[in-house]
Amino acid sequence: MDNRLLGLFLSVATACFLPATTTFAAEEETNIVEEAPVIDPSIVRLGLKEADIESMDIEAGLYVGYMSVENFGTDAVYGVRGAWHVTEDLFIEAQYGMTSVGKTSYEELAPATLLTGDDRDLIYYNLSLGFNALPGEVFIGENNAFNTDIYFLAGAGTTEFAGDREFTINIGAGLRLIALDWIAVHLMMQDLIFEKPAVIDPADSGEASHNMQYTTSVTVFF
């Protein structure tokens, strides 16, 4: 009898407790699962693709400076430039610039006008291949270091000047200072070489004119 009562009591007690214990065990199990695993839990992204990383291989900006057009004096030049950095060494650059030339010394001395109106505007575009040759650093003050690159570039394009369009070769060198990861300041000198316009070379001897351009530019990487 006692045994039966005890048995009943035990079975009731087990019936009451067992679900509780299992629940408890389950909770504990969930806790183990939810608890931080060995890997840093702050990482929620899965996998890594290059597209997840912002790339900054395109550079675009404006430039201003002086251009010395052979026989026509030196005047302000301004333009836009864009570059695609293909590798750490190579980039492809496009430029579109313009200046308005002054008078030749002949026009200064004699009461003559060789060019009128729009013909005094020189507009050029070119496409060049650039080479980052000398990487370096500049230090400004005690706490600032900026990465720099001395680069060389050469290319071809067209110049519209004095009523003609001339095939133009350019060679140049520049210094790029990376002010922030996405902003750069350039100092550049470039020689734009094209045939002398008809007003200067009426005999069409094909002589080349060298037109030096000294510019400063601010560019943005994106």
């Binding site: 890997i39 890594l48 290059e50 990383i53 009523g163 095939f167 990861d181």
Partner: protein
């Protein structure tokens, strides 16, 4: 791109904006004995710091084959693509970036490039954009300038190009198409006027795969300018070019 322009404007107005724009960067785990950090995105810049095995680094930006990373301690430096591919991504897999190479060469979709050459004795400079409908068939838009002693020409034309063997490293092609040419006489010949005529052309050439996503190309075209006068103008065009595919 627009975000960046916006940043320029905002930054010009106020200076405290930078921190608000801080985002979650993807991070990777260093599994080599150590990882070199350089001061700039190039092999010429000095190594200034190392990250030890087991440490996590955040990848901030990429410039060509270099990645700017930030360590747990907040140190920033540049890691090469080669080194970056010896780290583990959040799944614990080795990082592997896609490389554009010879495998994609046969499956190119877009092509953009420049050409330089001779246009019946005149210097020619051209830009081109191509779209591949299939591996074998593509359309190409060319904008060109031919600069000579007597006259200058500006050309726009559209071609249909067929390449029988797109997967070959040296892949020949045939091209036919048409467009327009504007011829402007040089300034010294003031008596003549600019004129615009239609053109048709046929030609053949070859694309040569160089490396990554770049190719060289050489082309011969025979252009016919359909003039108002009795005789059409025949113009031979030889060009060499350089282009990238995407």
């Amino acid at each position: 791109m627009f975000a960046r322009i916006l940043i320029v404007i905002t930054l010009a107005c106020s200076f405290g904006v930078g921190t608000a724009l801080a985002t979650d960067y993807p991070s990777v785990e260093v599994v080599d004995a150590y990882l070199d950090l350089r001061t700039g995105p190039g092999r010429g810049y000095p190594k200034v710091q190392i990250v030890e095995r087991g440490d996590y680094i955040e990848i901030m930006v990429q410039k060509t084959d270099w990645f700017k990373v930030r360590t747990k301690k907040g140190f920033e430096g540049w890691v090469s693509r080669e080194d970056m591919e010896r780290t583990l991504d959040p799944d614990g897999d080795q990082v592997a970036f896609d490389k554009v190479g010879e495998d994609e060469w046969a499956h190119r979709r877009w092509e953009a490039g420049v050409k330089l050459g001779d246009f019946e004795g005149n210097t020619m400079i051209a830009g081109l954009l191509g779209y591949y409908f299939t591996q074998n068939l593509s359309a190409e838009l060319t904008v060109a300038e031919a600069l000579g002693s007597f006259s200058d020409g500006q050309l726009v034309n559209l071609s249909l190009t067929h390449q029988p063997w797109p997967q070959w490293r040296v892949s020949p092609y045939f091209t036919i198409g048409g467009g327009a040419i504007k011829i402007s006489p040089e300034a010294r010949f003031v008596q003549t006027r600019d004129r615009t005529d239609q053109t048709v052309h046929a030609g053949l050439g070859a694309r040569v795969y160089i490396t990554r996503q770049f190719m060289l190309r050489g082309e011969y075209r025979s252009n016919t300018v359909l003039t108002d006068v009795d005789d059409n103008l025949e113009i031979e065009e030889w060009t060499i070019g350089f282009s990238a595919f995407f």
